[in-house]
Symmetry: C2
Subunit: 194 residues, 2 copies
């Protein structure tokens, strides 16, 4: 097990309905030393890639992206989930339908901060069905920029998002991939990674 899998095993809580709560260290309270380990590991996994921009989405992706950005010496842009009054001018807007809730969400990035010279690493905390991620990829493509890689903290490998993104040919690196969970016993099965 790697450092993140160990931490999930120690502090993650499995709930009924395939819910994994990692809010004590990842997405409500945030362990910044752990985030630094994650940043270093993303650097290792994307070694050799020329990355000049990190793209994430509010809110819980921002902390991981900012700490990781220190290892890539790149600025972070975070996408907003709804039209904000503070955004003006031209914006990239991706409409994504939630697989779970069937509603439509907008993912928004100002055109000022993504252009065709950008070599983008997308970072987020969770990947399950991948709706938010699909919106981010859509926006990078609309900008004429390239997706150099996608770094995720925790992937629910039993949901289709990661599978689909890899089938599309993207280098998707999830630091922990969960293939199954059992709320009764608290067991979490991690996928073996090379």
């Amino acid at each position: 097990m790697n450092f993140l899998e160990e931490r999930i095993k120690k502090d993650g809580i499995v709930k009924e309905g395939n819910i994994l709560k990692v809010d004590s260290f990842l997405n409500h309270q945030m362990d910044i030393e752990l985030f630094n380990e994650m940043g270093k590991e993303f650097q290792r996994r994307f070694e050799g890639k020329e990355i000049n921009k990190i793209l994430t989405i509010e809110a819980s992706g921002i902390g991981i992206a900012c700490i990781a950005a220190q290892y890539f010496h790149a600025p972070v842009v975070f996408a907003k989930k709804a039209k904000s009054i503070n955004l003006d001018g031209d914006m990239y807007v991706a409409e994504v339908v939630s697989f779970t809730h069937k509603n439509v969400n907008q993912v928004i990035v100002s055109k000022k901060f993504l252009n065709k010279e950008d070599k983008v690493l997308i970072i987020d905390d969770f990947l399950a069905n991948g709706c938010a991620l699909q919106g981010l990829i859509q926006i990078v493509q609309e900008a004429g920029a390239s997706v150099e890689g996608i770094g995720i903290a925790v992937e629910k490998g039993f949901q289709p998002g990661g599978h689909m993104i890899r089938n599309l040919g993207y280098q998707l690196e999830s630091l922990a991939i969960i293939d199954g969970m059992d709320a009764e016993t608290g067991t979490i099965n991690f996928r073996k990674q090379g």
Copy 2:
């Protein structure tokens, strides 16, 4: 002028209605090297304070808080602005009325992540009327924890938030305090700080 004031002068854009846009480096695209300078400056200004937790609010406070947390060796907790489906159990909920929009917003933190042993540094990107900040202070007090200090990137000194918070006796450190702006000339007047 300090480093942040210089950056605001260089890249901030003054708009009609006392709007200052700093989205190219602070709250949409984020300059992580600048955030590190800010973290160091917060460390200097709060030297001698025993801080064991950083509290911020989604979304644009998170990046600054996470980078600054590296200088305090403390975890970050971010408050949510609306009841989230991923939060369960007991939560601190502060209701704050927006001075500008007159609507009521909820600021929410899980009770698991704030308790009476906590010595809290509150960090946010902007302070104007201070509604979000009032909600955060309310929550820290409800938890029986102490507000050791408040670190803000940009304060609009011509709006009442900062004045009121200092009158309440809190150590409020704003890295840049703007006392006036002129959209026509693009001039920004910074308050002299000792």
